[in-house]
Every structure is written in structure tokens, then in C-alpha cells.
């Protein structure tokens, strides 16, 4: 007669598989909220679904149409230009603010709050506020500029795609620089004060310490987080543009996210899903390159 296993033995046996069982809820959620929509999205991108009637399989036609559509390619360019303008500036100013606000001075908390505040206000509201500030002939800034120098009266900052894009980049940087700053501040405050003191004892100046000690330490944490999040945020930009220019004038400042929305709302739901997948790839490429760079940089360090 076989003896029943003792309780501790049963627990040990179950324990060897317990870690797998504990992952089940997370895997279920991941499957339901990511894998399932992604799979459905991939399927839809291969159809001509117009959002209402029955979908028909069209293979890769949507992707072919995307690369043949001048407006779509223009929107890719606008999105990339926006990201190239926004991401570096966000990191540069975010780091600069963090370095300044890492030091003790009177009113430091107030300045930190002022810099961070735009990041927690709705981007749509910020967009409208900036429109009232910048609007040609009516905006506060336009009126101040023309009173200082009448030559500005011909300035139509938001009426041309180039000028409008520059404005959009600057507004975006102004709004989100607080977020970037907070991440850098956290990184700076995680650096041990002994390390900084040791540098001072060794005779290193501020910039030498910054270059050879602070930045390499930040590189593996704060810089990595900020670069990745800013790349993702800038390439999928929607709200700032929608509030300030609605992608206009014409389609001059339309980003890929806005294009996707408009195509989806039109009768091109399948096509818009294909464009969303293209955007996913466009975001993924620089993110993977950056991750590779940071990995090699860490390895060298």
C-alpha cells in the first residue's frame, strides 16, 4: 500500500511549479489587453474594412497604398522632424534644469514647481492657451512683438507649415521638459555625495566631474529612460498638434497619429490600422537603436 505524501512534500512539489502559476494572471492580462488587440490589428490591416460593412481580405495592399500616398509620406516626414526637434531639446533642457535645480538655493522648490507644472496640465488646454498667446494679429505675444518692432507685423507664425512646426516643437518642449527634469533629478540625487566629494578632493572642477562622473552614471539610468520615453512620445505626438494647429494649415503639420485618426474616422479603418502598425515600426527602430547604444555604452563603462 502506497503511503500518502506528507504535506511538506506536496508543498515542495507544488512549489516547484508555483512561480509558473503565479505568472498566469499577468499573462492572461497581457494576452487579453496586448496580444489579442495586436493580433486583431494585424488582421484588420490586411483588410479593406471601412468601419461599418463587412471586411474583405486585401493582403498587403494597405501597406502598398501607404507608401504610394504623398500625404502619408509627408506626415512621416513631419513626425520625424518633430521628433528630431523635440527629443534632443527635451533632454538638453531637462538635464540643464535638473543640474541647476539640484543645487540648494532660495525658492528652489517654487522654480521646480513652475518648470514641472505644464506637464500636469492637459495638453489640449495648453495648446489652446498657446494659440491665444501666439495667434497672429490677436495673440498677446504677437502684439508685444509688433509694438517692440513693427517688422514683426508680417509674421504669421502659425499660417505656414514651417513656422507652425517650429512653434509646435517649442511648445512641446516647454510642456514636457518638467517630466524629463524630474527623471534627471532623481538620477542626480541617487549619486552618492561621497563620490562628488572625492572628485573635489582629487581637484576635479565642476565640468570635469560632470563629464567623467555624473554623466556616465546618469547614462545607464536617467538618460536611457528619458531618451526612450521622449522618442516614443515625440514620434506618437497627437494632442499638442491637435490643439494648436489641428494638423494645419491644410495638412502642413499633420502627424502620423492624426493621420491614423482621420483615416479611421473616414471610411479607411483597415488602412488606418495598417498605418498604425507602420508607426509602431517607426517608433520601434530608434528605440531599439538607442537601447543597443546604451547597452554598448554600459559595457564599455
Amino acid at each position: 500500500m502506497k503511503r500518502p505524501a506528507s504535506a511538506p512534500a506536496m508543498l515542495r512539489k507544488a512549489g516547484s511549479h508555483l512561480h509558473l502559476l503565479m505568472a498566469v494572471p499577468a499573462l492572461l492580462l497581457f494576452g487579453f489587453f496586448f496580444i489579442l488587440p495586436l493580433t486583431r490589428g494585424i488582421w484588420l490591416s490586411l483588410t479593406d474594412w471601412n468601419g461599418v460593412s463587412k471586411a474583405s481580405f486585401v493582403g498587403l495592399q494597405n501597406f502598398v497604398d501607404f507608401f504610394r500616398d504623398p500625404r502619408a509620406l509627408h506626415d512621416v516626414l513631419i513626425t520625424v522632424l518633430f521628433a528630431l526637434g523635440s527629443a534632443p531639446l527635451l533632454n538638453l533642457f531637462g538635464l540643464a534644469y535638473a543640474l541647476v535645480l539640484d543645487h540648494e538655493f532660495r525658492g528652489r522648490n517654487l522654480v521646480r514647481t513652475i518648470v514641472y507644472l505644464p506637464a500636469i496640465i492637459s495638453p489640449l488646454i495648453m495648446g489652446y492657451i498657446w494659440y491665444f498667446i501666439l495667434q497672429p494679429q490677436r495673440g498677446v505675444l504677437w502684439q508685444i512683438a509688433t509694438s517692440v518692432n513693427p517688422a514683426f507685423s508680417g509674421g504669421n507664425w502659425l499660417a505656414g507649415p514651417r513656422g507652425a512646426l517650429v512653434v509646435l516643437i517649442l511648445v512641446n518642449v516647454w510642456q514636457y521638459v518638467g517630466m524629463t527634469m524630474v527623471v534627471y533629478l532623481a538620477g542626480l540625487q541617487s549619486i552618492s555625495s561621497e563620490v562628488i566629494e572625492a572628485c573635489a578632493i582629487d581637484g576635479a572642477g565642476y565640468f570635469q566631474t560632470l563629464r567623467h562622473v555624473v554623466l556616465p552614471i546618469l547614462l545607464s539610468s536617467s538618460v536611457k529612460i528619458n531618451v526612450i520615453t521622449n522618442i516614443i512620445g515625440s514620434l506618437s505626438v497627437f494632442d499638442v498638434i491637435m490643439a494648436l494647429t489641428e494638423g494645419g494649415p491644410g495638412y502642413g503639420t499633420e502627424s502620423l497619429s492624426i493621420y491614423i485618426m482621420r483615416m479611421c474616422y473616414g471610411s479607411f479603418t483597415g488602412y488606418s490600422t495598417a498605418v498604425a502598425l507602420v508607426l509602431f515600426v517607426i517608433v520601434l527602430i530608434p528605440v531599439l537603436i538607442s537601447l543597443g547604444f546604451f547597452r554598448s555604452a554600459e559595457f564599455e563603462a
Partner: protein, 424 residues
């Protein structure tokens, strides 16, 4: 002890939850989905009174700025409203709307012309009930016109001469002010001026059928000397001769109304829906004139929009059709429609409603006599909205198209693409 408290709490929660669920089931929730920003507040007030009068029904209003697009997402996700203000030809073709043709108690009170406008061409049925009529044309400042000795234009040359006179003699006043940041406003120029040529040429039924079937022999969107080619050249004329406001691309709807109400704009292109906004900004403004759009094609007649407005539809998939009809019965009571018309500043389409809807009633009546009455392009493809058309006008103004015919060809390509997608 703790166990008892927990058990008791659970029991209470269960009873409360069940009673709420039962209560909710007893009260039919009727969802009204609207895109009409002007009526949201008024409708909220009406709903409050209706809900009080009908304890078994709860009407809830949802407003979306981009309602005609949002409703597609709603239908795709199964979140079907019971009543909507959104008309879409594609939805009608797919049987998404409830047939209201046999609701004699409503139709017997509505002007026959409005019933015709509410008739779906493909099925011959009526799915929508329009409570009002709306008009769109050129609002003008009568005081400025009188001072400069100007008359309402009946040809394009007269129209331009008026604008030039205003430009010369009133340098601080924009001859024609457009809030061009709002693409819908520029889309209306195409609807009324460019499509107006087709609507005038083939009549209401003929043009609606041409738009519906994308009949190229009648639409001639990309033809040299066709409506789009001429429209584009007219817009470029106005731009190049400085007859539009200098902030054409960045001015908003609100800026436009402000400029007109304060005498900084002599003319604006708008519909009756803008009248209350103008009067809000300047309640003392009495000198408001209203005229048809001048014909863009030589030899044609001026056109004025006289269309059904504020249409209500019941969705075929609604689980509360009877309750939805009950709510519409309440909305269509003469006293409610009178208040609605006076609030909207638009005449009622119901014959038993006498509303004092606006200070420019006579001017509008005259404009309707002077111009060919046209409707909205409701048979256009849903994937190419008035906003899309308006954005193309923005591009035209910016100089994206080297010639007017290039614009016309781009317009046709965009129209055709959307039409094919909607008519698979």
C-alpha cells in the same frame, strides 16, 4: 465578530446592488447622441423636464464635436445610441436607421418641402425628422453698405467690385472675413459656391443623384472650366487682390463673429446658426443684411442654402424605440419647438409652430426669393468630409497648388478615393 461584520456588509452591498440593478432595468435609458453644440444646453433643460414627466424613462445626452466620425466608432464597438442627430448615407444604405416614413402624426405637421429634403434617395424612405430650416449665405453690415452706396451683388464682378470698394474706402475693415483655421467653414464655401453650380444646374433631385452615384458627366470635378477649377480660381482672385482678411488661415469662428459684430468685417460667409453668436457679442447690432452667394460661373444665378436642419433619427438597433419616439413626441410639441426655434434663430419646419426666430427674418425671406435655393451635399462620401474639403482650401490659399486645375484634380482624387471606400 469581524466575520459577522464582513458578512453583514456583503449582504447589504448585495441587496443595494440588486435593487439598483432592478431599478435601472425598470427605467429605460434612452441615449441621445448629438453633434450640435448649439443645442446642448437647451436640450439638457428639455431632457430634465421630460425625465421628470416620464419616471419610467431616463434620457441622457452625449455631445461630441466630431459626432459624424465618433458614431462610426460607437457602432463598430456596439455602443449604439437610441436617438442621434448624425445622418450618414452609408448607414442608411446598411439599414442602420429606423424607417420613420409612417409616423403620420409628425409628417402631417411638417412642410412638404422639408419632407422631400429628408427623403433618402436610394430607398425613398424618411429616416430623419428635421425640426428646422437653416439658411446660409453672406451676412453683411448694412450700415457700411449704405454708407458706401453698395448693393447686394448678383454677379461675381459686382461682388468683387463691392469688396474692392470696401477695401479702398474702409482700410481698417476686412471686406470678406473668413475664420479659415476652422476647416468646416471653408468646406462650406465648396458646398455652397462650387457644388452650388451643380445643384443649380441639375436641380435638387438631379444633383443629389449625381453626388450619390458619383456621376462624373455631371459633377465634372476635374474638368477645365468645371466647378472646382472655377472655384479655386475665384478664391485665388480674392486672395491675390487682398479682399480677404489677412489672418485668413489663423482666424477662428469666434474671431469671425467678433469682427462682424464690432464692424471690423463688412461681410462674412455663415449660416443662421451664427446669428445668436453675433448678437451675443453685440446685442445692439441691428444693421445685419443677408444675401445669397454670388455665382462663381458667369451667367449663373446667386445661390442660398435653404436646407433641413436639426434632424433627429432613431437607430434601428435601439432597444428603446418606443421610448425614443415618446421623447421625440415631447420634443415636437409646438411650445417646445417654438422655444427651440427662437433659441436656434432658425425657422421651424413644423407648420403649427409660429416662432419669432430672428431680427433678420425679412432679409432672409428676400434672399430666398433672390437666390436659387440649394441644400447640403448630404450624399457625399462619408470618408471625405466638409473638414477634409476645407483643409484643401487651406492648402489652396497657402499656395500648395500651382494652378486652379491642379486643385480641381486633387479634389476629384480625394472624392473618388472616399467614394470607392464607402461603396465597395
Amino acid at each position: 465578530m469581524l466575520k459577522r461584520i464582513a458578512t453583514f456588509t456583503m449582504a447589504v452591498l448585495l441587496i443595494v446592488g440588486l435593487s439598483l440593478a432592478v431599478g435601472a432595468e425598470k427605467r429605460a435609458a434612452v441615449k441621445l447622441f448629438t453633434g450640435k453644440v448649439e443645442t446642448v444646453e437647451w436640450m439638457d433643460d428639455l431632457i430634465k423636464r421630460f425625465n421628470k414627466e416620464n419616471p419610467g424613462i431616463v434620457v441622457e445626452q452625449e455631445y461630441q464635436k466630431d459626432a459624424s466620425n465618433v458614431i462610426k466608432v460607437k457602432l463598430a464597438s456596439g455602443d449604439v445610441p437610441d436617438i442621434t442627430t448624425v445622418w450618414d448615407q452609408g448607414f442608411a444604405d446598411m439599414g442602420k436607421y429606423l424607417d420613420l416614413s409612417n409616423e403620420a402624426r409628425w409628417w402631417s405637421r411638417i412642410q412638404p418641402a422639408i419632407r422631400d429634403m429628408c427623403t433618402d434617395l436610394r430607398s425613398g424612405k424618411q429616416y430623419r425628422i428635421a425640426t428646422n430650416m437653416t439658411m446660409a449665405g453672406l451676412f453683411y453690415n448694412k450700415a457700411i453698405f449704405a454708407e458706401l452706396g453698395l448693393k447686394e451683388a448678383t454677379t461675381w464682378e459686382e461682388f468683387k467690385a463691392n469688396l474692392k470698394t470696401i477695401k479702398q474706402k474702409r482700410p481698417g475693415v476686412a471686406p470678406l472675413f473668413m475664420g479659415g483655421k476652422e476647416s468646416w467653414m471653408l468646406g462650406h464655401l465648396i458646398e455652397f459656391m462650387a457644388h452650388g453650380v451643380i445643384k443649380q444646374q441639375y436641380g435638387a433631385m438631379g444633383s443629389r443623384q449625381a453626388f450619390l452615384a458619383n456621376d462624373d458627366s455631371k459633377l465634372r470635378f476635374d474638368a477645365v472650366g468645371g466647378p472646382m477649377d472655377i472655384f479655386a480660381s475665384r478664391i485665388l482672385e480674392l486672395k491675390n487682390e487682398g479682399l480677404l482678411n489677412s489672418d485668413f488661415l489663423t482666424a477662428t469662428y469666434d474671431n469671425q463673429l467678433e469682427a462682424f459684430a464690432t464692424g471690423k468685417a463688412a461681410m462674412i460667409s455663415q449660416g443662421m446658426w451664427a446669428l445668436s453668436g453675433v448678437l451675443d457679442k453685440n446685442p445692439d447690432m441691428k444693421e445685419i443684411g443677408f444675401s445669397p452667394y454670388p455665382p462663381i460661373v458667369n451667367g449663373a444665378k446667386p445661390v442660398v442654402l435653404a436646407a433641413e436642419d436639426s434632424a433627429y433619427l432613431i437607430m434601428a438597433e435601439s432597444k428603446h424605440k418606443d421610448e425614443a419616439k415618446k421623447f421625440l413626441d415631447y420634443l415636437f410639441r409646438p411650445e417646445n419647438l417654438k422655444s427651440y426655434s427662437e433659441f436656434l434663430k432658425a425657422p421651424s419646419s413644423f407648420t403649427d409652430v409660429q416662432a419669432d426666430w430672428g431680427p433678420i427674418k425679412d432679409s432672409v425671406a428676400q434672399a430666398l426669393k433672390n437666390g436659387i435655393n440649394i441644400g447640403f451635399t448630404t450624399e457625399g462620401p462619408s470618408g471625405f468630409s466638409g473638414d477634409d474639403a476645407g483643409r484643401m482650401v487651406q492648402e489652396l490659399y497657402m499656395g500648395k497648388y500651382r494652378t486652379s486645375i491642379e486643385f480641381a484634380k486633387a479634389y476629384k482624387a480625394a472624392w473618388d478615393k472616399a467614394w470607392k471606400a464607402a461603396n465597395k
